[in-house]
């Protein structure tokens, strides 16, 4: 045992021994000399645990998907038939025209294939991120070490595409061999990888909100307001998705938008009841100055709210170690920037 000097000997103490003192954890007084002090530790297993009910995923047969698939197949076949007829007609008229038509058709098919491939890739990517989010949440609950390693590995792969994260990735990989519990590993990964991204995301959201509030305050027509808000929101969601590693195409954007809106619907009520009303009352000075300015501010807030929902949806990890950006912070940004500009 000489090669392991740090090895401590086993020892046992009777609690009714006069030299053994049992003290509470709060009572950290120095023990008397020679006394043996026993401090019972609070038991983490007895603390109440909050369990989030899992999102109920739709299972079973998807008739809607089947319908759209079948319809798309029919449309594609119809188009194919039409194009074939057209090329046949062109060949009948003149051979050179026919070849030109054939070339166009081939190019269109190739482009369509590439577009479809990109869309599928984007959707798969979004699916991966969403699954990663769920798996990370599961690990946080179960504290499973092997699963946490798998999540972190996938996360590192995802982060590989973002060169800004090179340093953070290296730091995280340095910890890969250490003995760290599952949940702690996820928290560590969040702190390392998500901190710069969260800062950037917050900047994006407040910039978009600010732009929306200014444009809607000065725009002459309501229709322009609506269009601008729509475009700005879509752009914001796309930017956020790119930031957190997703590459959504058109279909991906539709899927994301659905998720964001669903998320807004779930959390919107809560937000409206606490922070939004507070914001309206507290910082409503602008509204008193002018109705248009107030409308602009409100639109900006709504965009920020949408941005927050989009962050929740596109972020590959749930918020645990890092604070979730709140609407109040963004509203402050919005007002401060306005004041700076004014």
């Amino acid at each position: 045992m000489s090669e392991r000097p740090k090895q401590r000997r086993p020892a046992t103490f009777r609690l009714d021994d006069p030299s053994v003192v049992v003290v509470d954890a709060e009572d950290a007084s120095r023990p008397a000399r020679g006394a043996i002090q026993v401090t019972p530790e609070s038991d983490p297993a007895l603390l109440p645990v909050v369990i989030e009910p899992p999102v109920i995923r739709r299972r079973g047969f998807r008739w809607g998907t089947l319908f759209w698939t079948a319809t798309a197949g029919l449309v594609l076949m119809g188009a194919g038939l039409g194009v074939t007829h057209l090329i046949e007609d062109l060949f009948a008229r003149s051979e050179s025209l026919g070849y030109v038509g054939l070339g166009f058709a081939a190019t269109a098919t190739l482009a369509l294939a590439v577009v479809i491939g990109r869309e599928a890739f984007g959707l798969a990517r979004l699916g991966t991120i969403e699954k990663l989010h769920l798996r990370a949440a599961e690990v946080l609950a179960s504290d499973d070490r092997a699963a946490s390693r798998a999540v972190v590995n996938d996360l590192l792969e995802l982060a590989h595409q973002n060169p800004q994260l090179a340093h953070a990735r290296a730091a995280l990989q340095g910890h890969a061999g250490d003995i760290i519990d599952g949940a702690d590993m996820i928290r560590l990964a969040e702190r390392e990888l998500m901190t710069p991204l969260d800062r950037e995301a917050r900047r994006l959201v407040s910039a978009a909100a600010q732009r929306v509030s200014i444009v809607t305050a000065v725009s002459p027509r309501a229709l322009i307001d609506v269009l601008f808000v729509l475009v700005a929101s879509l752009r914001l969601i796309r930017q956020l998705a790119y930031l957190y590693g997703g590459r959504p195409g058109t279909l991906g954007m539709i899927a994301l938008l659905r998720h964001v809106i669903a998320h807004l619907a779930i959390t919107g009520g809560v937000a409206a009841s606490d922070s939004l009303i507070q914001q309206m009352l507290g910082h409503g000075v602008a509204a008193k100055l002018s109705q248009r300015l107030g409308e602009g501010f409100l639109n900006g807030l709504l965009t920020a709210r949408l941005g927050l929902a989009a962050i929740e949806v596109t972020r590959p990890l749930p918020f645990t170690a890092l604070p979730q950006p709140a609407l109040a912070d963004l509203a402050k940004d919005l007002l401060r920037k306005k004041e700076e500009e004014e």
């Binding site: 103490f13 026993v38 297993a45 299972r59």
Partner: protein
């Protein structure tokens, strides 16, 4: 030739049974949970805690189906096999909670069926039937015998008994063995004496001070209803592997009885209870081996490797479900984690991972899911820090079982103590070297490197008329891994 035909018949029987089970489970989804473990690993306590936790509703935050309330109720149902005794759940629970002592060691096989009514995540009402079997852990040691001939087994047993520290315990038997000639005429009296001395030697190896695990044949230690039958009256002889037994010799009689033992005892046991498992938890009591010494740890490793080779492991396919059921999830669990401060649980898991590495690698290659966890089905201790001079020892508070001793003092079962059991090394390899640490088998009680006291079950307050929930460590994680996916 005969062995291959025997093998074919055995396989056909297993397949027929599997097909029958499959038909049954179409209407009534059934999960056979194999609770595997050597003796004193804590199988009975695990099963009792499992049933109690599911029927009463325990504190299982990680076990998703129960924690989110999707399990409507779980209740005991009449078991499927009429020829097997019922698992005495109520009396085990009474001894745990009421009398605060661990259930006495299992002497015979028993069975229980638990029916879980739950709602799937999409809202559909479903029922899952869980069949659990409890049996003496000693019997598990017989499974590796299925593939061994008498000569192989005798050679291995002799080689084992001639290594330290067993050689001292086997002196009497070795002395008698030296008087036997395998080619001599068969002699019932000599066989009886040899079998008795051999059994005594096995029993001595099992003592707490040595805690040996690799002690086949298991029925010698726990005979059940077959005590004193000829199938249990044989012993290893000093025979070479290539010779054949002359007709009418002592050797031939031993071979016959060994084969009878396999036919009467081992094969039916395997067929009825192990060939049909869906999920398996392997309970390992590593702490007893730490108490005893490195030899006990090596022995445990060898015993586990031999047993795990017998199971059919792999990802299930349709064909395999029909004809050859396989175990698709295995959890290796280091039990009695409550005898160790939680800061050391990772190290305990690492030791177990090292001890089962061969079996785990094999399981992983076949596509089965495996996991290693340190758990306590019933938690008997609380944690505390003991400050003694400058040292701060991560310790445990609990009531040692009557008869346990430390510092030369024997406890009566009522005194509470704080105990620090010793530090596990960060690198598990350190424990697997020879002479890596001193245990009870080679050193006096006060100079061993580890001392894990056995504690009495915890004192629990009844909340109202309900039975109290049993405290545990990571039991919910084990449940989630074993049956969570079938309750989605």
């Amino acid at each position: 030739m005969t062995t291959s035909i025997q093998h074919l018949i055995e396989e056909a029987r297993l397949s027929a049974r599997a097909l029958f089970d499959f038909g049954e489970s179409l209407f009534n989804p059934t999960l056979r949970l194999g609770v595997t473990g050597l003796s004193r690993a804590g199988k009975t306590v695990f099963i009792t805690a499992l049933i109690h936790g599911l029927t009463r509703g325990g504190r299982f935050p990680v076990f998703e189906a129960l924690a989110t309330g999707r399990i409507g109720r779980a209740h005991l149902a009449p078991q499927p096999d009429d020829g097997v005794p019922r698992f005495a759940y109520e009396s085990h629970l009474q001894s745990l909670i009421g009398e605060r002592h661990w259930p006495s060691s299992t002497v015979d096989i028993s069975e229980l069926r638990l029916v879980i009514d739950y709602q799937r995540q999409n809202g559909a009402d479903r029922t899952l039937t869980l069949d659990i079997v409890d049996y003496p852990g000693e019997w598990l040691l017989d499974l590796p015998l299925l593939t061994k001939s008498y000569a192989q087994w005798a050679t291995e047993s002799l080689a084992l008994s001639r290594a330290a520290p067993r050689v001292h315990l086997a002196q009497d038997w070795h002395a008698h063995l030296a008087t036997l000639r395998p080619e001599a005429a068969q002699d019932e009296q000599a066989t009886l004496i040899a079998a008795k001395l051999f059994t005594d030697y096995l029993r001595a190896c099992r003592d707490e001070r040595f805690a040996m695990s690799l002690l086949p044949p298991g029925r010698f230690l726990m005979p059940g209803n077959l005590a004193h039958s000829p199938a249990l009256t044989f012993a290893p002889l000093d025979v070479s592997g290539d010779g054949t037994a002359p007709e009418g010799s002592l050797w031939a009689m031993m071979v016959r009885r060994y084969e009878a033992y396999k036919d009467i005892v081992v094969r039916p046991f395997f067929r009825d209870h192990f060939a049909r498992l869906d999920r398996q938890i392997v309970l390992v009591d590593a702490l007893a081996a730490f108490n005893a010494g490195p030899e006990a740890l090596h022995d445990l490793e060898a015993a586990l490797a031999g047993i795990l080779d017998c199971f059919r492991i792999g990802r299930g396919t349709l064909l395999s479900t029909l004809f050859r059921p396989r175990i698709d999830r295995i959890l290796f669990a280091a039990t009695k984690a409550d005898h160790l401060h939680h800061a050391s649980h990772d190290r305990l898991e690492a030791v177990l991972r090292r001890a089962v590495s061969r079996a785990a690698a094999r399981a992983e290659n076949t596509g089965a899911a495996i996991d290693v966890v340190a758990l306590a089905a019933v938690r008997a201790t609380r944690e505390a820090t003991v400050a003694k001079g400058r040292d701060k020892l991560p310790s445990l508070l609990g009531t040692p079982a009557p008869g346990e001793s430390a510092n030369g003092e024997i406890f009566d079962g009522n005194t509470e103590v704080a105990t620090f059991p010793g530090d596990l090394p960060a690198d598990p390899e350190e424990l697997f070297r020879d002479d890596a640490f001193r245990g009870l088998s080679s050193a006096a009680a006060d100079s061993s490197d580890f001392r894990f006291l056995r504690f009495r079950p915890p004192l629990l307050d009844r909340d109202g008329i309900d039975e109290p929930a049993l405290p545990h460590i990571r039991f919910d994680r084990a449940l989630q891994f074993l049956i969570g996916d079938r309750l989605q």
